[in-house]
Symmetry: C2
Subunit: 422 residues, 2 copies
């Protein structure tokens, strides 16, 4: 992978494309060995591509440098490194003109250079701002994609991934009942967990005989929980072991596993609510709207999410959620009784079937010895029954807020699983 | 910069070290030209270092691969590439033992290899888990730092940055009144803008004679707006021109500029509210809590943020915000009158001095020819006076939500600037 752009080297932006592409490549069995960010310089870019080709890889992906400005040099660098002169594609000019016309604009003269493609290369259809291209150069696919993440993802997913899959399938030994996408690939299962740490998972799975197994186990931790990654070869035998391993892991970890692949807690909770025909609402203090935000990240969430109250001030806890003032004065806003009253009040005054309520101290200020920064009470209300759990999180403001939001979603998810039926 | 670790290539983690180091290097006048992530393979790593040295840079930073496991190969790779045999440093063994003792543990035999350093290299003191080292190899500083971000940052800041600063100062022409840290450095000013695109900024600044100027102008676009980056040499003359340029840019772009450096809109708005002693509340539909979330990202925001309502359902718009039901049936939830009623209702029923209200269609479903996906009405209420603006955004659900939230914050910011006094 070769990424062009001074902004990657100056630290102006994080290279999210590298991680995204690396993961997609691995899923299809292509192991990335090098990922280079290189400055916007024609000779450096051409040298980087030549160095990459020396290693005779299956694929070199270039990203960025396909725009119309003087700094956009990927077309020229590929031309120089491969010894393939640039050719003007009239149909690309038309496509670029059509894009400008859709936006009610006229194409600039500088955009004409975006229709230049190295000889023998195939243009990649584009919906964004820049056409990409790819060419088979002495057995290596050299592909140039845009640097804008949305455009790169679309071009990879809709165009280049199928191209690479077909090539891998053609190279792989024939026979077997695996799907084409797996012919040269890796079988991957991702299980998503919440409410359990990496070491606890390792301990829980200790009794499984992983040594000598064809299944490789990895974990990845984030604020959205833990991802357990099971990887193996795409043979029928390894697949059978993978199925067996997954069943064993599921038996041990049970409902800690909330999903697979790229599932997130808010979407999984939403699906459970939809299945059961239930509605939810939120009452948030220290998370300041984050739980509502996560629930509404999913399109169609209005089917089950009615709304929420961000009751940052005590007065709003009383006025909008009906929290008894004496509870606030006697126990303080960050307390179990207030969390319970917020959950009950939200469910009743917003008229939902269940509620998630949060009150806590996200810091960095506002802590006391009795109520330290990171103290959080999370209440859930389901069918009129309210439960509150207490947490103390030793981390930063942002992480306390995010972890609290995810924990709230998970607590209601687990109550729905154990207390309701479809 | 050379980063080792398969996790960077498999997309398991983002390479935040690259962005962090790139920015620190630039601040001291070192332009990173290459940043490579390479797989945990001895030959690949040694080859990467040899390729880097061919370019005769001032500095090659390696990060990662300094642990005690079999995959930790940076010591060996540096030894191989530079032709410097590894030597055991007894004092490092003692330092490692002391670290284990502090944690109440005994040093493992495998940790002994962490005391191996290439001949002629200087160990870098460590507080984390792994010692680093650096060596001047034919005029290039080759430095090996840990991959753990906290350890890398500490070792860079406390040890290697001063080393590099001293070397740059020794190389730089003497004289002048600039501080030592700027001897080889760059002067940087970042201006943050909202509500104006890159091309409009370029057009607005067209009349400034940038050609021949010592000040370099760059832009960076994100959903939080545009960053204008002015860079120049650290001489008294260039600094004077930088001041003049900044004043010219500010005169042209005016209140579109909301801050400097890493300011964000929610924090800037919060500071304005605090200065004026005003409180704010929110009423959100399609942004689902995102505006409240941004306002409460800042510690101490309870001084001016009272709370908000996420009125995803129409019933909550009526019950919690007092939006007239006839408005909803006559104009629909996504309409100018409803945005106005939400802003007024929020300000009144939540008892704040001002309000931001949002209603729109974030998609991907729910659009009609009259009311397409991306149609958003944003209302602001200030001193009882309500204003509504209409937007149509052609992008994804996530981006529509984020841009709407930022626009709401900006609209209130600009009203505060033009309609209120401190």
């Amino acid at each position: 992978m070769i990424f062009t752009g001074d902004e990657l080297l100056r630290g102006d932006i994080l290279n999210t494309n590298q991680a995204w592409l690396g993961e997609r490549l691995l899923d299809m069995g292509i192991f990335a060995t090098h990922a280079l960010s290189v400055t916007d310089d024609l000779d450096q870019m051409a040298e980087a591509l030549r160095d990459s080709l020396r290693r005779r890889p299956d694929l070199v992906v270039l990203s960025g440098g396909l725009g119309p400005t003087e700094d956009d040099l990927t077309r020229e660098a590929v031309s120089l490194a491969l010894g393939r002169p640039l050719e003007l594609h009239e149909d690309l000019i038309e496509a670029i003109q059509a894009r400008f016309a859709r936006l009610g604009m006229t194409m600039h003269a500088t955009n004409r250079k975006q229709a230049l493609i190295p000889a023998g290369a195939t243009p990649i259809p584009f919906t964004g701002t820049a056409p990409g291209f790819w060419v088979d150069h002495e057995g290596t696919v050299v592909a140039a994609l845009p640097g804008v993440p949305r455009e790169l993802k679309q071009m990879w997913t809709e165009y280049l991934a199928p191209v690479m899959t077909a090539r891998l399938a053609a190279d792989a030994p024939t026979g077997g009942d695996e799907a084409a996408v797996e012919a040269g690939g890796v079988l991957v299962r991702k299980l998503r967990l919440f409410g359990i740490g990496e070491s606890a998972v390792a301990e829980a799975l200790l009794d499984l005989p992983w040594r000598g197994s064809e299944v490789d186990l990895g974990t990845r931790a984030s604020l959205e929980g833990l991802t357990l990654i099971l990887r193996t070869h795409p043979t029928a035998e390894a697949r059978a072991e993978l199925d067996q391993r997954e069943a064993q892991v599921r038996a041990i970890l049970g409902e800690r596993i909330y999903g697979t692949g790229d599932d997130d807690l808010a979407t999984v909770l939403g699906a459970l609510l939809r299945e059961r025909g239930l509605t939810v609402c939120t009452a948030e203090s220290c998370t300041g709207g984050l739980i509502a935000k996560h629930l509404t990240d999913t399109a169609g969430s209005s089917d089950y999410f009615l709304g929420g109250v961000v009751s940052y001030s005590n007065r709003l806890k009383t006025e909008l959620l009906g929290v008894d003032e004496t509870l606030l004065t006697e126990h303080g806003a960050v307390s179990e009784p207030v969390a319970a009253a917020m959950a009950r009040g939200a469910q009743e005054s917003l008229g939902a079937d269940c509620a998630i309520a949060v009150t806590g101290i996200a810091g960095p200020g506002g802590g006391t010895p009795e109520k330290p920064v990171g103290l959080v009470y999370i209440g859930t209300s389901l069918g009129g029954e309210v439960r509150v759990e207490r947490f103390v999180m030793f981390t930063t403001r942002d992480e306390i807020r995010e972890r609290t939001a995810q924990t709230g979603l998970d607590l209601l998810r687990r109550r729905l699983l154990s207390e309701t039926r479809v």
